[in-house]
Amino acid sequence: MNDMAADVREQADTTGGKLGMWLFIFSEIMFFGMLFLLYAVYRTRHAAAFHAAAQNMDTAIGTLNTAILLTSSLFMALSVHATQEGRKRLTEIFLSITIVLGISFLVIKSFEWLAHFHHGLYPGSVVLSRLGKGEIMFFGLYYVMTGLHGVHVFIGVAVLTIMLVLIHTGKIDKTKFAALENAGLYWHLVDIIWIFLFPLFYLIK
């Protein structure tokens, strides 16, 4: 009888944990939502300048990063599934691939930023200040939005690494995988935000 009560409690905890995670995701959507709002307002005001500034973006690199992040989300989902099936080794492999892809995204993103810097396109630079107001705003938004997204990817990689340790030590297994699922939710969120950033900065030209 006691065990049953404990089971019920465990069940409630898992559902509660997931609910908490969703609430956190709502807050993240509001957080990035305000940046999208700023983008919308400024794009409306400086449509031509945004169009011109976007010519500096490398669509190929953006597409590559999009593919990387989407693939990482696939492996994230696979690793959750593998845990549910109780296949520990496979879970670890899938999760490791997710982490490596996440890191690759960050590396590519940093090279991209460095290339912009190299061309003198950084906040307060001489090159940028010679351009129009709209172009400055485009790059301001670009750095803030992809920068904060990058921070989220970084946190995601850190969280997934902790999950990997927990799986390895058996703290997450077939019976207890709520933490991994929640980490997965967060990872997909990070992915989805990028899905919106990609067209706004790379595709609308």
């Binding site: 509660g16 609430l23 940046l35």
Partner: protein, 542 residues
């Protein structure tokens, strides 16, 4: 005494042998009751500081033309006063202290959904508060932007805005995590039989507050980060020179900061809704209406931020829409006030201190609410905007509203929290002194503002002298009142008479457990079979 029995189920959460000694047993505790008290300690320490600053600012205005404080010092003082009072005192006050302590008990749970996250929230809050203090002494020194951090000045000033903004960011993060915790707790941990419409109304108000905390706080988070980005990296998204618009900053700021007003007032309304039935020995009138009005306030309150910006520049359509919505928010607030009064009608009223504080709350909050409507009217707002009228209004709402409800709640639940009773007559005296002092201090501000006295000014024209003087004398009455009240409570904490588990004859769940509450609140999770606030004969009928 019940809590002396050997049964582990009823060991008090304050018991030293059961919980461990020393400060670590407190600052590492995940018990929601202890965390609630941890919040209270930090909050009230900062409250004392901010009251002193407010007192000093009043005093410095004792005569026109003397300029006792320099403009710079005065700017810094009202900024620090505002930042502490709003972000470190009022916003966490009722949810993080009384909410943490009583939400799980009121819904028949052993703790909040995420006890460790709850403790983490407190640590983030404390780090934020400490950084706010550090920001005063490092970098360019105390910030002088006002608590609103308006651009472009917040980007240009040499004072330490970056660190101060970051500290507010952290405090906001803590508030948001508390919201997540409460919402999850209410969804998942209600006792068996406690359906949504059997919840005590304080829980309903915290539920509405929680949604605002979750959805509005991220907006201030990103806004503050954009200020930091502007100051640290030169990415200044509100600079007209680089295609930005400072008005957008104001929109984003108030998109959080207006709903934040409801983070402050909704829990306060919840507290007085708990108090009134207990002291009129009658079920609350209009339970459903009160519960729904909390949600309505949270919803409509999130759509009215523009009324802070009527003079900033906005289309005429936006203006009247925001004005209309502002008037609509007054409706659910009115619903609550009428229901409170109706709950008192025909009751057997006991004029104990918590109820007297509640009366003071209703009176002061109503004045605050009505003056809010005056500002919500477009034509009038042009006259009163940025004057003492606003200062009077916001103090009537936040101090007269939230803080008085907090004091009412403390006097109501003090015997439950500590198993001891304060001196009731001293509490009544403190309230009387505070009530007189409060009105003497803040009411003249409405008149001064109407006559054109601008807010945030370190000096004034001689024509405002009388009003200022009355207001200053008010602060000399209000502060002793606060001192009497806190002395009375602190004395009772150590030397108060022991009190039975249910001194007020309350019927909600917290009064059915011993005082102070057992560590796990309930030996056995109660099964709920009726709505709350059912007294006497009716209770037997159920």
């Amino acid at each position: 005494m019940e809590h002396n029995t050997k049964d582990t189920g009823s060991v008090s959460y304050l018991d030293k042998t059961a919980n461990g000694r020393g400060i670590l047993a407190w600052i590492l505790s995940t018990d929601h009751k202890r965390i609630g008290l941890l919040y209270a300690m930090v909050m009230f320490s900062f409250f004392a500081v901010a009251v002193s600053i407010g007192f000093t600012m009043r005093l410095a205005l004792i005569e026109p033309g003397h300029k006792i404080l320099s403009a710079r010092t005065y700017d810094a003082l009202f900024t620090i006063h505002g930042v502490i009072m709003i972000f470190i005192f009022i916003i966490p006050s009722i949810p993080a202290f009384l909410g943490n302590f009583f939400l799980p008990i009121l819904i028949g749970a052993k703790d909040v959904a995420f006890p460790r996250l709850n403790l983490l929230s407190w640590y983030i809050f404390v780090i934020g508060a400490v950084l706010a203090v550090v920001s005063l002494f490092t970098g360019g020194g105390p910030i002088d932007t006002g608590w609103t951090f308006y651009v472009p000045y917040s980007i240009q000033t040499g004072t330490n805005v970056t660190l101060a903004a970051f500290s507010v960011f952290l405090i906001g993060f803590s508030s948001m995590l508390t919201g997540i915790n409460f919402i999850t707790t209410i969804h998942r941990y209600r006792a068996p039989g406690m359906k949504w419409f059997r919840m005590p109304l304080f829980a309903w108000s915290l539920y509405a507050t929680g949604w605002v905390q979750i959805l509005a706080t991220p907006v201030i988070a990103i806004t503050l980060l954009l200020i930091i980005a502007g100051r640290m990296f030169g990415i200044y998204l509100f600079d007209p020179a680089s295609g930005g618009d400072p008005l957008l900053y104001q929109h984003l700021f108030w998109m959080y900061s207006h709903p934040a007003v409801y983070i402050m007032i909704l829990p306060a309304m919840g507290v007085v809704t708990e108090i009134i039935p207990t002291f009129s020995k009658k079920p609350i009138f209009g339970y459903t209406a009160i519960a729904m009005s909390s949600l309505a306030i949270a919803f409509f309150g999130s759509l009215v931020w523009g009324h802070h910006m009527f003079t900033s520049g906005m289309s005429q359509t936006a203006k009247w829409l925001f004005s209309l919505l502002t008037f609509i928010v007054a409706v659910p607030s009115g619903v609550k006030v009428f229901n409170w009064v109706a709950s008192l009608y025909g009751g057997s009223i006991e004029l104990e201190p918590p109820l007297l504080f509640t009366f003071a709350f209703i009176f002061l909050f109503s004045i605050g609410g009505f003056t809010g409507l005056i500002q919500g009217a477009l034509a009038v707002d042009v006259q009163v905007h940025d004057t003492y009228f606003i200062v009077g209004h916001l103090h009537y709402v936040m101090f007269g509203g939230t803080a008085f409800a907090l004091f009412a709640g403390i006097h109501y639940w003090f015997p439950k929290m500590f198993g001891k009773m304060y001196n009731k007559n001293v509490a009544r005296l403190a309230l009387l002194v505070m009530f007189i002092g409060f009105n003497t201090l803040y009411f003249p501000m409405f008149v001064l503002g109407w006559e054109g006295m601008p807010r945030r000014s370190y000096d004034y024209l001689p024509q405002f002298h009388t009003g200022q003087l009355i207001s200053i004398v008010g602060s000399w009455i209000l502060v002793p009142g606060l001192i009497i009240m806190f002395t009375n409570l602190i004395y009772a904490l150590f030397k108060g008479e022991k009190t039975p588990a249910n001194p007020w004859g309350g019927v909600t769940l917290e009064w059915k457990i011993s005082s102070p509450p057992p560590r796990e609140n309930f030996e056995e999770i109660p099964v709920i079979t009726s709505r709350p606030y059912v007294f006497g004969a009716e209770a037997e009928h159920e």
